[in-house]
C-alpha cells in the first residue's frame, strides 16, 4: 500500500500541506513547508548563526569606519538613518536576559537588538559622543539586513552575503516601502494641490511618530486614529461630503503611513501581545484533537471542491501575518471567510448563514494555527481605519475572527458537548477521539483525519485509473489485430487485382529524340565550341 502512495500529484495531497516536522499542523511553502511554530524554531537557529556571523562583520566594519572617521577628524557630516529609530528599543534592555521565553520574536524585529547586543557590547569598546552615534548608526544599518523575509519584497534584493555592505546598502526603508511611497505620490498627483498637502501632512505625521517612542500601544493607536479622523474630516470638507472619495484617499493614506510605521508598532515590546501569541499558539496545539463534528461544522471535506476551499481558507488566514497594511491583513481574513462560505455552500447546497460560518471559522483557525494571531488582531484593531473595521463586510469577518479566538480561549467540555472527563483526557493526551478502536480507522469513520481520507480517495482514484488503463490496453490490442487484418485484406485485394490485370511489360522508352514527332522544330543541338588560347 505504501508504494502506491508514492504516486502523487493526482490530488492535492493533504499530507504535503502538513508541517515537514510531522507535528501535525499545516506547513507553509514560504516557511519551507514547516508550520509557524516549527518554522520559528528552525528560523531562530539559523538566525542565531547568521547573527553571529553578521556581528563579526559588523565589528570589522565598525573598526574600519572608526579608523576612517578618525583620519577625517569629524569633518564629514553624520549619516542619518532615513527614519529616526524608535530608540526605546535601545534603552530598555535591562530585563532582557530574564525574558528567555519571548526572545523568538526579537529575531523577527529588526529594531530590536536583544541577542545581537550581548556579544559585541562585551568586546567593542564604547566610543564617546558623536563617534559612538556614528558606530551605532552603522550597526543599526547592518541590522537592517536582518529584516525577516516577510518584510521584504524580494529577499534577493537585499545583500545577504554582506560582502561589501556600506551603510547605505540597507537603510531601513526597504524596497517595499519605497514602492509604496512611489505609488502614493503617483496617486496624489491626480489630486493636484490637495495631494501635495496630504503628502506633507503624512510625512509630518510619520516624523512626529518617531518622536513618540516612549508611548504605549494604546497611545500610539490613538495618535494614528486621531490622524485618520482629522484627515478624513478635512477630506470630507474638501470633497464636499463625498464619502466614497474620502474613503479612496484614506485607503492610500493608511497604506502609506502604516507601511512605514509597521516595524515599530506591530507587536510592540510595551505590550504583552507576544505572550498572548504564544499562549494562543500553544492553546491551539493542545486542541489538536477537536474534530469537525464536535464543532458541528457543515463542511464535508470528502467533496474535492470543499476540501480545496478549506485549504485556500487556511492559506489565506496564514498569509495575513505577511502583510503590513492593516487593510491588507483584513483582506486576507475576508478572502479566508469567502472560501469558508463556499465550502459551506457546496456542502449544504444552499447559502451559508451566520450559524454555520462562525463554527467553520473556528475550525479553520484551529487547523491553521495562524502565526502571531493575537498580534495581528491587535494591530488591525489599533491601526486600521475604523470606517472599514466597524461597519463594512471586512469588519464583519474580522469580528467573527475575534469571536473565534475568544471561543478557542474559553473553550471547555460544554462548548463541545463533551463530558468534562473526556475533555480532560483529550486535553492531557491520554486519549484521542479519533482512535478509540484502532482497527476501525481505515474504514470511513467520522473522526478520521483528512490526510487519511485524502489518501483513501487517491487509492480509489488509482484503482479507477488502473481499470481505465486496462480498457485502453484492451483497445490497443483490438486495434493491433484490426491492423493485421486490414493489412492482410489489402494484400489480398492487391493480389486479386494483379491477377485480373496482369502487368504488360513494355520496352522502356528510348532516348528523348527517338520517337519525337516534333523533333524537327527544335533548334539544332548545341555543338561544343573550342576556344583557343
Amino acid at each position: 500500500m505504501s508504494q502506491k502512495f508514492e504516486r502523487r500529484g493526482i490530488h492535492v495531497d493533504q499530507s504535503e500541506l502538513l508541517c515537514k516536522k510531522g507535528c501535525g499542523y499545516y506547513g507553509n511553502t514560504s516557511w519551507q513547508g514547516l508550520c509557524s511554530k516549527c518554522w520559528r524554531e528552525e528560523y531562530q537557529r539559523a538566525r542565531q548563526k547568521q547573527i553571529q556571523e553578521d556581528w563579526a562583520l559588523a565589528e570589522k566594519l565598525q573598526r574600519e569606519e572608526e579608523a576612517a572617521y578618525a583620519s577625517s577628524q569629524g569633518a564629514q557630516s553624520q549619516p542619518q538613518p532615513s527614519l529616526a529609530p524608535f530608540s526605546k528599543f535601545e534603552e530598555k534592555k535591562t530585563n532582557e536576559k530574564t525574558r528567555k521565553v519571548t526572545t523568538v520574536k526579537k529575531f523577527f524585529s529588526p529594531s530590536s537588538r536583544t541577542a545581537s547586543k550581548k556579544a559585541p557590547s562585551e568586546k567593542v569598546e564604547k566610543v564617546p559622543g558623536a563617534r559612538e552615534r556614528h558606530g551605532e548608526t552603522l550597526l543599526r544599518d547592518l541590522r537592517g539586513i536582518f529584516t525577516p523575509p516577510w518584510e521584504m519584497v524580494s529577499p534577493t534584493e537585499e545583500n545577504h552575503e554582506g560582502k561589501t555592505p556600506s551603510p547605505s546598502v540597507s537603510r531601513q526603508s526597504s524596497t517595499e516601502t519605497d514602492r509604496v511611497s512611489r505609488d502614493f505620490v503617483e496617486f496624489l498627483k491626480n489630486l493636484q494641490k490637495p495631494g501635495r498637502e496630504i503628502h506633507k501632512q503624512c510625512r509630518a505625521f510619520i516624523e512626529s511618530m518617531a518622536n513618540k517612542k516612549d508611548l504605549g500601544a494604546d497611545e500610539l493607536s490613538e495618535c494614528v486614529q486621531d490622524f485618520y479622523q482629522n484627515m478624513s474630516d478635512r477630506l470630507l470638507t474638501h470633497f464636499k461630503g463625498s464619502t466614497d472619495r474620502v474613503e479612496r484617499v484614506m485607503d492610500q493614506v493608511e497604506k502609506y503611513i502604516m507601511t512605514r510605521l509597521y516595524k515599530n508598532v506591530f507587536c510592540p515590546e510595551t505590550t504583552d501581545d507576544e505572550k498572548k501569541d504564544l499562549a494562543t499558539q500553544n492553546r491551539i496545539r493542545a486542541l489538536h484533537w477537536v474534530t469537525i463534528q464536535m464543532l458541528c461544522v457543515p463542511v464535508d471535506e470528502e467533496i474535492p471542491e470543499v476540501s480545496d476551499s478549506v485549504v485556500k481558507a487556511i492559506t489565506d488566514i496564514i498569509e495575513m501575518d505577511s502583510k503590513r497594511v492593516p487593510r491588507d491583513k483584513l483582506a486576507c481574513i475576508t478572502r479566508c471567510s469567502k472560501h469558508i462560505f463556499n465550502a459551506i455552500r457546496v456542502t449544504k447546497n444552499e447559502p451559508a448563514s451566520a450559524d454555520d460560518f462562525l463554527p467553520a471559522l473556528i475550525y479553520i483557525v484551529l487547523k491553521a494555527n495562524p502565526p502571531r494571531l493575537q498580534s495581528n488582531i491587535q494591530y488591525i484593531t489599533r491601526f486600521c481605519n475604523p470606517s472599514r473595521l466597524m461597519s463594512g463586510e471586512d469588519g464583519y469577518y474580522f469580528t467573527n475572527l475575534c469571536c473565534a479566538v475568544a471561543f478557542i480561549e474559553k473553550l471547555d467540555a460544554q462548548s463541545l458537548n463533551l463530558s468534562p472527563e473526556d475533555f480532560e483526557r483529550y486535553m492531557s493526551g491520554q486519549m484521542s477521539p479519533c482512535r478509540p478502536e484502532p482497527e476501525a480507522w481505515p474504514s470511513a469513520g467520522p473522526g478520521i483525519s483528512p490526510a487519511l481520507r485524502e489518501a483513501r480517495r487517491s487509492l480509489d482514484l488509482l484503482a479507477s485509473l488502473e481499470a481505465r488503463q486496462e480498457r485502453v490496453l484492451e483497445g490497443a490490442r483490438t486495434l493491433e489485430s484490426d491492423l493485421i487484418d486490414w493489412q492482410e485484406s489489402v494484400e489480398r485485394e492487391v493480389r486479386e487485382i494483379l491477377g485480373r490485370f496482369p502487368l504488360e511489360v513494355r520496352p522502356p522508352a528510348s532516348a528523348i529524340d527517338s520517337d519525337n514527332v516534333e523533333n524537327d522544330r527544335l533548334p539544332p543541338p548545341l555543338q561544343p565550341q573550342v576556344f583557343a588560347g
Binding site: I344, R345, P351, G395, S415
Partner: protein, 202 residues
C-alpha cells in the same frame, strides 16, 4: 473586493430561534435592492442600500450565530453598532426576558446604539390568539421606559419587516444629517483658508 462602503452597522440580537436570520432573509431577498451589491454567498452579513426621501443610506446588517454556545461572544459583535434590532418570539415569554437582558447590555456598553424591539412571528398569533405569550402593553411600557421603537413582525407574511428597517435607516439619516449640517456651518467660516488650513496633529 471588500464590498460597498457601509454607513451604519445594524446588529441582530436575541435568543436562538426567535427568527433573526429569517427576518434578515425576508427583508433582503424580497424586492428592490438598491445599489450595485448583491450578497449571493450567504446571509450572515448583508449590505443593503435604503432610500429615504432624497437620501440613500447603506445598512450593514450583521446576523449573529444563533447557538447558545456563542452567546458569550455577542459583546464583540455589537461593538460600534449604530442600531440593534433586539428580537424576541411573541410565542415564547422566555425570549422576551432574554431581550431585556440584551437591552441592558447595550445600554451599558454601547450608548450610541439605537435600540429597536422586535416581536417576531405575528402570523402564529394571528392564526391562534392564545399562542401569544408576550403582552403587547407590557412591551409598550418597556419600550417607553428605554425610549426604544417597537415593532411586531412576521417573516412569513412579511408584515412590518420593511417598516422596521426603513425606520432604522430613516433614524440614522436624520441623526447624521443633523451632525453634517452643523459641520457645514463651521466650514463656511473657514472658507477662505486653503485646503488643510492647519496641521492636523501636534
Amino acid at each position: 473586493m471588500s464590498g460597498p462602503r457601509v454607513d451604519a452597522k445594524v446588529v441582530m440580537l436575541g435568543k436562538e430561534s426567535v427568527g433573526k436570520t429569517s427576518l434578515v432573509e425576508r427583508y433582503v431577498h424580497q424586492r428592490f435592492l438598491v445599489g450595485p451589491y448583491q450578497n449571493t454567498i450567504g446571509a450572515a452579513f448583508v449590505a443593503k442600500s435604503v432610500q429615504v426621501r432624497d437620501k440613500v443610506v447603506t445598512l450593514g446588517i450583521w446576523d449573529t450565530a444563533g447557538s447558545e454556545r456563542y452567546e458569550a461572544m455577542s459583546r464583540i459583535y455589537y461593538r460600534g453598532a449604530k442600531a440593534a434590532i433586539v428580537c424576541y418570539d411573541l410565542t415564547d415569554s422566555s425570549s422576551f426576558l432574554r431581550a431585556k437582558f440584551w437591552v441592558k447590555e447595550l445600554q451599558n456598553c454601547e450608548e450610541h446604539c439605537k435600540i429597536y424591539l422586535c416581536g417576531t412571528k405575528t402570523d402564529l398569533i394571528e392564526a391562534d390568539r392564545s399562542a401569544r405569550q408576550v403582552d403587547y402593553h407590557d412591551v409598550q411600557d418597556f419600550a417607553d421606559e428605554i425610549k426604544a421603537q417597537y415593532f411586531e413582525t412576521s417573516s412569513k407574511t412579511g408584515r412590518s419587516v420593511e417598516d422596521l428597517f426603513r425606520k432604522v435607516a430613516a433614524d440614522y439619516i436624520s441623526t447624521t444629517f443633523e451632525v453634517m449640517s452643523e459641520e457645514r456651518g463651521v466650514n463656511l467660516e473657514q472658507k477662505k483658508d486653503p485646503f488643510f488650513y492647519s496641521c492636523c496633529h501636534n
